[in-house]
């Protein structure tokens, strides 16, 4: 418990540093909010000065950050001067889309990956093993945007019942929601499943060679009992670590998939916000992603001792 509290405090520190870094890096990029508002039609120097003053962009970065932090601690994470939308409301709307997509893709990749991993491990070096692994290599090599575009077109032409352009909230219709999420999640899950399968196979093979497996076999324990109870359970640790890492990177890294499938998630929102130099959204969005990362890793560390008793303190 104390360990979790420590990790939590450290996480808050990380978030503070992340928020300042994003804030500061944003000012280093040429072209700020005033550039976006003026657009390609230009303005006089005088008009620029007035606009920058009105937006508070003429203040030193530390002062701007202090203003933001002060408001943020009171729960106001800012409002875009262009869209008039509050960062928190926008993120609350977009985060569930990304989260659902990431969780679905993760679940699909774990089910498929662990199954294929076990399948190939128990048949190590047989023809089936070699064939499946060759397929896994191809799966791993397909970039999500290629798989995405192909699935979009295939979906529109041949899989109409399985396909819905754009996101439908779960609360509105479960069926339509799954239709809008199925193809995108599959396009991400394919390479992930290949990765998980390889990891499962390697880890399981290693465990299957352990003396206690031989002992279990020798005493006549049922084979599937040996594979799933004794071997797979002990082989799980590295697989779980991998999932924690994958999930963290998924939440921030779905930009291509969201774009291709026209899903209005966190990642595509961040891209649009960077495009209009809307830093209240960019900072808040980055914080949400960083927090997810921290939480996912914390969860993995908490799960670790449960699957691997040698890690218990």
């Amino acid at each position: 418990m104390r360990y979790v509290a420590q990790r939590f405090a450290a996480g808050c520190g990380v978030l503070l540093v992340v928020s300042f870094l994003v804030f500061w890096l944003g000012t280093l990029i040429p072209g700020d909010l005033s550039t976006v508002l003026v657009g390609s039609e230009g303005a006089t120097q005088q008009q620029y000065r007035e606009l920058r003053h009105r937006l508070g962009l003429d203040q030193p970065i530390v002062v701007q950050y202090a203003h933001w932090l002060g408001a943020a601690l009171r729960g106001n994470l800012g409002k875009s001067p262009i869209t008039g939308l509050y960062a928190t409301a926008e993120i609350a709307r977009r985060a569930p889309i990304t989260l659902e997509l990431a969780l679905l893709a993760l679940a699909e990749s774990i089910v498929l990956g662990v199954f294929l991993g076990v399948f190939t491990a128990v048949r190590a070096h047989s023809l089936a093993d070699v064939t499946v692994r060759a397929i896994l290599f191809v799966m791993f090599a397909i970039p999500p945007f290629v798989a995405g575009v192909l699935l979009v077109l295939a979906g529109a032409l041949f899989l109409k019942p399985l396909y819905q352009v754009g996101y439908v909230p779960l609360a509105q219709s479960v069926g339509l929601n799954l239709r809008s999420m199925l193809l995108p999640s599959v396009s991400i899950a394919v390479p992930l499943a290949a990765m998980t399968a390889q990891m499962t196979r390697t880890s399981l093979l290693e465990t299957l060679g352990q003396p206690y497996i031989v002992t279990a076999m020798a005493k006549g324990a049922p084979r599937r009992h040996v594979i799933y109870r004794h071997a797979l359970k002990n082989a799980l640790a590295p697989i779980i670590t991998l999932q924690g890492y994958v999930f963290g990177s998924l939440v921030g890294g779905l930009i291509v998939t969201e774009q291709v499938f026209n899903l209005d998630g966190l990642a595509s929102g961040l891209l649009a916000a960077i495009g209009r130099r809307d830093y209240s959204f960019v900072v808040t969005g980055t914080l949400v992603i960083a927090a997810t990362y921290i939480l996912a890793n914390l969860l993995v560390d908490v799960l670790y001792p449960i699957v691997d008793p040698t890690q218990r303190v």
């Binding site: 657009g39 390609s40 869209t83 077109l153 109409k160 352009v165 495009g275």
Partner: protein, 520 residues
């Protein structure tokens, strides 16, 4: 390990997985069709029309954006005092008539009676006063620059507005009547003070806003109080924002939208699809080459002339626009005031003359320049590549540089570049096709400034002659920019879902007022 055992297990898992997938997909397929496509209820004569647009609006505030793509929704819900029609004539809209004093300094507009805003409040002269007060206080520079000479707006009585000018302005009515409702959209004082216009459109237009999921979907419905009976024809208009071109094609092919705007690349395949109609228009979307005339060697007019003389516009159309477009000057070719390219100096490709001009300027060995452009689509990159090879023949070596759009903007508006390209949409105020933009290039040459001042003060009848002189002078100075090509645009639609489509060269979406779902 006996293989048989593991195999049996494998099959069991596979069978389980298979049945889960089957069950799931069965669940997915059995979706009530009523959820998918709202049936046309009785009395909904025009039905629902769903269209795909590539670019979502960042703001609904008509004084807060300078990009054409953001304007497209404003014209659906907002209206202006007058409106410029595609033929260039100024027609009544919220004002039924207007009087101009002989000195051109006072305009009196009589407002249409019985007009209501979407929140139910009536249109009064005070709302017009508020609109202009708000524009001057909060408008972005671009919006304010549409009305540089307005001195005061006053309500003479609830039905009459007077606008006084600082000096006569031949472009005033054309800006007031921008069909895209830029800057001049009449807002309700009451509504704009209660609701942020950036997030909700409350105007007097044919459609009123129901909901907006930012970046995703805008739902509009017929304004039952609209002053013109029978407009709009559709009961409901849903605009889905699909930036990815292939995804928009997929949405159209699957029937989840009835109308979309193809790109030069996706249109090739769409033209072959049966059951789909594709309309091509010669648009006003003009690409212009800008030269950073503040810094050497581009401050030398002969270097700029050499560049202009190296451009082969027909080849650009063929290679960069895939044949879908036309050569152009600053005015789109169909514009009544456009000077034919054959009459404009330095508009014909002449490599020998370009080399000679470079030698005259002291650059016999050629020049090295950087050509930058924003990340706004493939067409920009293709034009850049073709230009690079064309200019190379005259000894002008281009380094190509594609930039993130705001980084590009930052350099553009500070004139911090050698060569770049801009894209101009349709303008209801013809002067916008030719006036230099603040900060984008070096100082305006005196002879051009004289002509520009004359144009502002002139009567509308004198304008074509002056604009002709301005075009010739600008072509001779290769300043502030030189028009190169104008691109075709397309709208593709399913006749089974949409009827009444009429797309024109302005790129206006006002035809959404006449679309409807066909009766079965």
């Amino acid at each position: 390990m006996s293989r048989g055992f593991a195999h049996r297990w494998g099959t069991r898992v596979a069978a389980l997985l298979g049945s889960v997938i089957l069950a799931a997909s069965a669940g997915l397929i059995v979706v009530p069709s009523a959820v998918m496509r709202p049936a046309l209820a009785a009395g909904m004569a025009g039905g629902q029309v769903t269209v795909a647009e590539p670019t979502p609006p960042d703001t609904f505030d008509p004084i807060a954006h300078s990009d054409f793509n953001n304007w497209l929704v404003w014209q659906l819900a907002y209206e202006t005092l007058v409106v410029v029609q595609p033929d260039g004539k100024v027609a009544p809209m919220l004002a039924i008539s207007w009087k101009v004093s002989p000195d051109g300094l006072t305009y009196a507009f009589t407002l249409r009676q019985g007009v209501k805003f979407h929140n139910g409040s009536p249109l009064t002269a005070d709302d017009v006063v508020f609109t202009f007060e708000r524009l001057m206080a909060k408008g972005i520079p671009y919006a304010k620059a549409r009305f540089p000479n307005v001195a005061a707006v006053t309500a003479l009585d609830p039905g009459t507005v007077q606008i006084r000018m600082k000096k006569p302005d031949s472009s005033f009515l054309n800006n007031l009547g921008d069909p895209f409702a830029v800057a001049g959209a009449i807002l309700s004082r009451q509504a704009a003070q209660a609701t942020d216009p950036a997030t909700k459109m409350i105007g007097t237009g044919p459609f009123r806003m129901v909901s907006y999921v930012p970046g995703t979907e805008l739902t509009l419905e017929r304004n039952p109080d609209y002053w013109q009976p029978g407009v709009p024809r559709a009961d409901r208009l849903v605009i889905r924002y699909i930036p990815e071109a292939q995804t928009a094609v997929a949405a159209l092919l699957s029937g989840s939208v009835g109308l979309a705007y193809p790109t030069p690349v996706t249109v090739v395949a769409l033209k072959r699809v049966t059951g789909l109609r594709v309309v091509t228009v010669a648009s006003s979307s003009t690409y212009q080459i800008n030269m950073g005339s503040v810094r050497p060697p581009l401050d030398n007019v002969n270097v700029r002339r050499a560049i202009a003389s190296s451009i082969d516009r027909s080849q650009l159309v063929k290679l960069a626009l895939l044949g879908e477009g036309a050569p152009t000057g600053p005015f789109p070719p169909g514009h009544p005031w456009a000077v034919p390219l054959s009459q404009q100096p330095y508009y014909q490709r002449d490599v020998a003359k370009a080399k000679q001009l470079l030698t005259q300027a002291g650059y016999a060995g050629g020049v090295d320049l950087t050509f930058m452009w924003p990340t706004l689509g493939d067409t920009w990159a293709r034009i850049a590549q073709v230009l690079q090879s064309q200019l190379a023949e005259s000894g002008i070596r281009l380094k190509l540089q594609q930039l993130e759009t705001n980084v590009w903007l930052d350099r553009l508006v500070k004139a911090n570049y050698d060569l770049t390209m801009t894209n101009a949409p349709y303008f209801s105020d013809p002067s916008l096709y030719i006036v230099p933009r603040a900060g984008r290039q070096g100082p305006t040459p005196a002879e051009l400034q004289t002509l520009l001042d004359r144009a502002t003060q002139a009567s509308f009848a004198q304008l074509p002659g002056i604009y002709r002189q301005i075009q010739l002078t600008e072509a001779n100075l290769v300043y502030p920019f030189t028009g190169v090509v104008v691109e075709n645009k397309w709208v593709a639609y399913l006749p089974s879902q949409v009827e009444g489509v009429s797309y024109d060269f302005t790129g206006s979406r006002r035809f959404y007022f006449s679309v409807r779902r066909p009766a079965r």
